[in-house]
Amino acid sequence: MAESRSTSTSTSKARSPKATPTPTTDGTPRRAVVVGGNRIPFARAGGPYVRASNQDMLTAALDGLVARFGLAGERIGSVAGGAVLKHSKDFNLTREAVLGSALSPETPAYDVQMACATGMEAIVGLSNKIRLGQLESGIAGGVDSTSDAPIVVSDALRTILLDLSRAKTAQQKLAAVARIRPNHLAPSAPTTGEPRTGLSMGEHQALTTAAFGISREAQDELAMASHHNLAAAYDAGFFDDLLTPYRKLTRDQNLRPDTSAEKLAKLKPVFGTQLETPATMTAGNSTPLSDGASTVLLASDEWAAERGLPVLATVVDAEAGATDFVHGRDGLLMAGAHAVPRLLARNGLTLQDFDFYEIHEAFASTVLCNLAIWESEEYCRERLGLDGALGPIDRSKLNVHGSSLAAGHPFAATGGRIVASLAKMLAEKGPGSRGLISVCAAGGQAVVAILEAA
C-alpha cells in the first residue's frame, strides 16, 4: 500500500507522469484527522526499560502502530518526533527509528524539540501540513528515557578534549592532556533545572502553588483521581487499542489503583520546603521521572478512507504560549493558561464549550493553578487582558481517563498519549463533541489545542 496508489484524491490533479505524487496545494485548508495512536506502557525511571534507548522505544511504539493499522511497507508522508533528553548521536533520532521500523525506508522523518510539548508540537506541525495539502499522512511521535539519559563531561574537560583533537604536534597534544585535572573528570547528568534560574521544575511550581494558595488536600485529591481514573480505563479495556506491551510491561508502571487520600497524605513534601508557606508538593502529587514512547497517526480524510481506516477526531487548531518566569512575573508552567484564551477567541468558543479537558499533570498543582487563573477575575483582566474570568470548568470532564500523575510522564511522549486517548474519547462520545488540551513545558512554554470528533 504505497501512497502512489492514491490516485483518487481530490488533490491529485496536477501530477507529473512519473514522479510519486506529492499533493498539490490549492490554498484551501482541509481537515487533518487523527486515525489512531499507539504507545508502549510508561515505565518508571530505572524500571523495565532501563537499558532501552530512545530509539529502541520509539521504534517499538512505531512498529505497534504499523501493525495496528496495516502500514507495513507504507511510505508515510512524514514522521515527526523527538525526545527531550537526547544524546548528540541521536541527531536524526526519528529517521533512525523509521529505518528500523516496518515502514517503507522511503518515509522521511524529522526531529522536533519543544521540551515537554515536543509531542504536541510534532502533532500540530504535521496536522498543518496535512491541512495545507502538503502531506496525505503523517506520524507524530515522542519518546524519552530518564534511565538512559546522556551523561556529558564537564565543560572544562570538553574544552581540553576539543583542543586535543585540533592539536597537530605531539607537543601540542601533550600540552592539552597536561591541562586535565581530576575534578574535570566528574560527569554531569542532565537535571530538570531551568538553565536560567537554577530552580528545578518542582521548585518553580512550588512558587506558583504558594502564590495561588493551592492546598495539599486539593493536590492529593487530583492525584488520587488520576490513579483511579486511569485504573478504571484499563479495566474497561480503553487502552486495548492504544497500547503495545513492551519488555513484559502491559500497563503503566506508575499506576497505583489502590492509592487513597490517606496514603497520599503520608508522603513528605519534596518541593517548596524552603518557602515561608507550608510545603505541599510530594512525590505523590508530582509526576515521576519516566521512560516511554508514543505515536499518533494523522491523515487526510481521503487517505484514511482509501485504506478503510477509522477517523476519530480532527485537529482543529492549536496555540503556543510562553511566560516571563525568569523575572518572576508568571509561573514557569502557566503558559497554557495564557494561550487558551487566545485559542478560544480565534475559534469563537468559551472555556465551557468542551466535553473533555486534558490538562497535563506535570504536578497536580499545575492543573489546579491553571484552573485558578481561569477562575480569577483579576488575573484574567490584568495579566491576560480579558474582559473577565474565563470561569470554572466542570471537573467531571477533566482528565477523565487519568493523566500524567498516574501514567507517568516520559517528557516528549506525553503529547501523543493525550491526543490518541482524547481522539478515541471524542469518537466514542460522538459527533460534535470537543476536547481541549494543554501541555506545559520547560522554558515557561506550553502548547494548547482543540480536537473535535471527526
Binding site: R196, V326, R329
Partner: protein, 311 residues
Amino acid sequence: MTAARPEPVVVALAGVPSLGGLYARGVAGSVRPGRSRTVRSDDLPRTRLHVGGVSPDPAHLTDYQRLVGETGSDVLPAGFVHVLAFPVATALMVRGEFPLPLLGMVHLANHVEQRRPLTVTDELDIEVHAEGLAAHRSGVSVDLVATVRADDDVAWVGRSTYLAKGYQLSDGDAADDDRPRESPDAPTAPPTADAPLAPTARWRLAADTGRRYAAVSGDQNPIHTNPLAAKAFGFPRAIAHGMYTAARALAEVGPRARGEAFTWDVTFAKPVLLPSTVDVRIADDGAGHAFRVWSSRSGRTHLEGAVRPLP
C-alpha cells in the same frame, strides 16, 4: 568632594599592568612597617592612571560571558569592562602614595554607568583615579573611579567603594556620607528588607567559584581563592567575589530588560561563603529591575541592587 582637589596628575602606563606583579607589590606595601593607620581626607594622590588602546581579547570575553551566564555577544558586559579596568585600579592602589593597604580591602558597593554599548572591536582608553576618602564605622572607605572611553567618548564609568578595616580618618565626618556603606560583618539590613520574598532563581555556588572567577577576572585576592587565607582575614571559608555575584544578577536581568544604556548598582552586605546555595530575586520594580541575593538557609541578604535604564 572633588572640587577642592588640586589639578590631577595623569600618569600614562604603557599597557594594562599584570595583576600578579601588582599583588606582590600590594602585599609588600600592606605589611610595610610603620604604616600609619590614621589617614587624612586629603591624603589621596592626585594621580590619574591612564592606559590607552586597550583591545578586548575575544577568548577572554567568551570565558567571562560563559562564567557569569551572559550570552556570547560581541557587546562587552558591563562587568567585563570592570574586569578590564581592575588592574589599572589595582596599580593605583599599590603605589606608595596611596594611603590604604591593598591587602584585606573589602568591596562595599559598586556603581556602573553604561552610557553606550562597547564591543569587542572597540579600542578602549581606561583612566582610574581615587576619591571620596570617608570614615566608616569599621574603617576608612575610598572610591576607585574608572572612566572608559572609546573614540574619545565616555562610554562606561565605574565607581567601586572599598573599605580598609581598622583604619581611621583623622578629619573625617561620616555624617555627610549618604551612600550606603555596610560593614560586611555587621547585621546590615533592617528586618523589613529581610522579609520573605519569593525567589526567581537559586544559585548553587561551588567551592571553586572564587578560583574560577579569579582565573577570568585576574582578581586573585586570596580571600576568594584560598580558605586558609580567608581565615587569616576573619572569614570562616573563602568568599565569592562580589563582582561575580553582581555580574550574574546583571546577566539574569538580560539584554532586553536592561537596554543599551543603563546603571548597575550593587551594595554588598554579607559575603557569600563558599560553597553555598543562595536564593535570588530579580524582578521588574517599575523603574527597572531590582535584584537581591540572600542565604537560602538563614535568609540574610548577601547583596542587593538594581539595573535601571539611562535616559
